[in-house]
């Protein structure tokens, strides 16, 4: 639901870098987003297309890299990725402990962009 303001923020950053590097056209933009974020790729692209019309980023393709949710086991300190929506059904793959904590999965970055 909040993809519109998020993509507005992405566009502002992209246009700033495009102007800084004096490029005439942005072809693609790579984002790294934690799986804990509820962003829908389809809507991200649609909103981005809408917002970027008439700019050098018009037509640019968004490439989203999803960063996994990573948990750490409280018993053996093993770090492992798992489906964050099923985290109470599983145990630590290394020692079987069921008590573990989330350590990452909230990345929210613009990595780079291809432009000419």
């Amino acid at each position: 639901m909040h993809e519109l303001p998020v993509m507005q923020s992405v566009l502002v950053v992209v246009l700033r870098h495009a102007s800084l590097h004096r490029v005439g056209r942005v072809h693609s933009i790579r984002l790294r987003v934690g799986l804990l974020s509820d962003l829908e790729p389809e809507w991200m692209q649609r909103y981005f297309d809408h917002l970027s019309a008439g700019t050098v980023a018009e037509g640019a393709k968004l490439v989203v890299e999803w960063a996994p949710a990573v948990f750490v086991c409280l018993k053996c300190s093993n770090r492992f990725e798992l489906d964050h929506k099923r985290f109470d059904e599983v145990a630590c793959p290394s020692c079987g402990e069921r008590d573990f904590r989330l350590v990452s999965g909230r990345e929210y970055h613009i990595v780079d962009m291809e432009a000419q």
Binding site: H2, P5, L31, L36, L102, M113
Partner: protein
């Protein structure tokens, strides 16, 4: 002829502009001695009732104001104003969340420098508000018993960004299959430091633990002894 395609490193945070605004807001509020609390939940979980109860309990010790972010109506703002504390409506322009820029305008409108505590009643929604830093010094959320104990699985992000969780409507516990120990364990897996308060804002049961905890947090923020 067009030049070659090249890769330009960006390495910037999405919503970095909002984060910077929020950081600036947090700092200036701290310097001015105003504690900003961001309260989030689903619609109908009991935000307005909890705020009203909190004001009843702490309103003698602190000057409190409320920023209401209800999307359409002014019903909540009227209910809070009836308690004799200042309330300002945040206009979200139809958005599903409040961001730091909106909060800054509303803080100016309410006259935050004359207040000890400002509470943001965020838009009723467990998804979007979790993504936007409001500039608050503390994020708190409400999960009400009728919503079910599976919500940390469905909306994990919200549970990771909050410092405190109020489990409201505990007067419904006997009528539901809400599994409190399982719920607590799910929450703590996502957020080990979460302070959890089980209460009924309606009956008042369990409310003292929440208001006492908030009192402690605010008094240490303001550098004065808690009541």
């Amino acid at each position: 002829m067009m030049s070659e395609i090249r890769v330009i490193e960006v390495k910037e945070e999405i919503l970095g502009d909002n984060r910077r605004e929020a950081d600036g807001l947090r700092e200036s509020l701290r310097a001015g001695g105003t504690f900003l609390l961001n309260l989030m939940s689903s619609p109908g979980a009991g935000k307005t009732t909890l705020i009203a109860r909190t004001i009843e309990s702490l309103g003698q010790r602190y000057r409190i104001g409320v920023l209401e972010a209800d999307i359409e109506s002014t019903v909540d703002a009227e209910r809070i104003s009836a308690l004799g504390v200042p309330a300002v409506q945040i206009r979200t322009g139809g958005f599903c969340h409040v961001d730091a820029f909106m909060v800054k305008n509303a803080l100016d409108a309410i006259g935050a420098s004359a207040l000890d505590i400002v509470i943001i009643e965020n838009v009723g929604n467990l998804v979007c508000p979790a993504e936007f830093d409001t500039g608050a010094h503390m994020n708190a959320m409400i999960l009400s018993v009728p919503e079910g104990d599976d919500k940390p699985l469905k909306y994990p992000l919200m549970f990771t960004v909050c410092d405190a969780l109020v489990v409201n409507k505990t007067d419904y516990l006997g009528m539901s299959d809400f599994d409190m120990p399982a719920f607590r364990q799910r929450v703590l897996k996502l957020n080990r430091g979460m302070a959890i308060f089980e209460l009924s804002a309606k009956t008042g049961r369990g409310l003292d633990a929440w208001t006492g905890w908030l009192d402690g947090a605010v008094s240490s923020f303001l550098g004065r002894p808690a009541g």
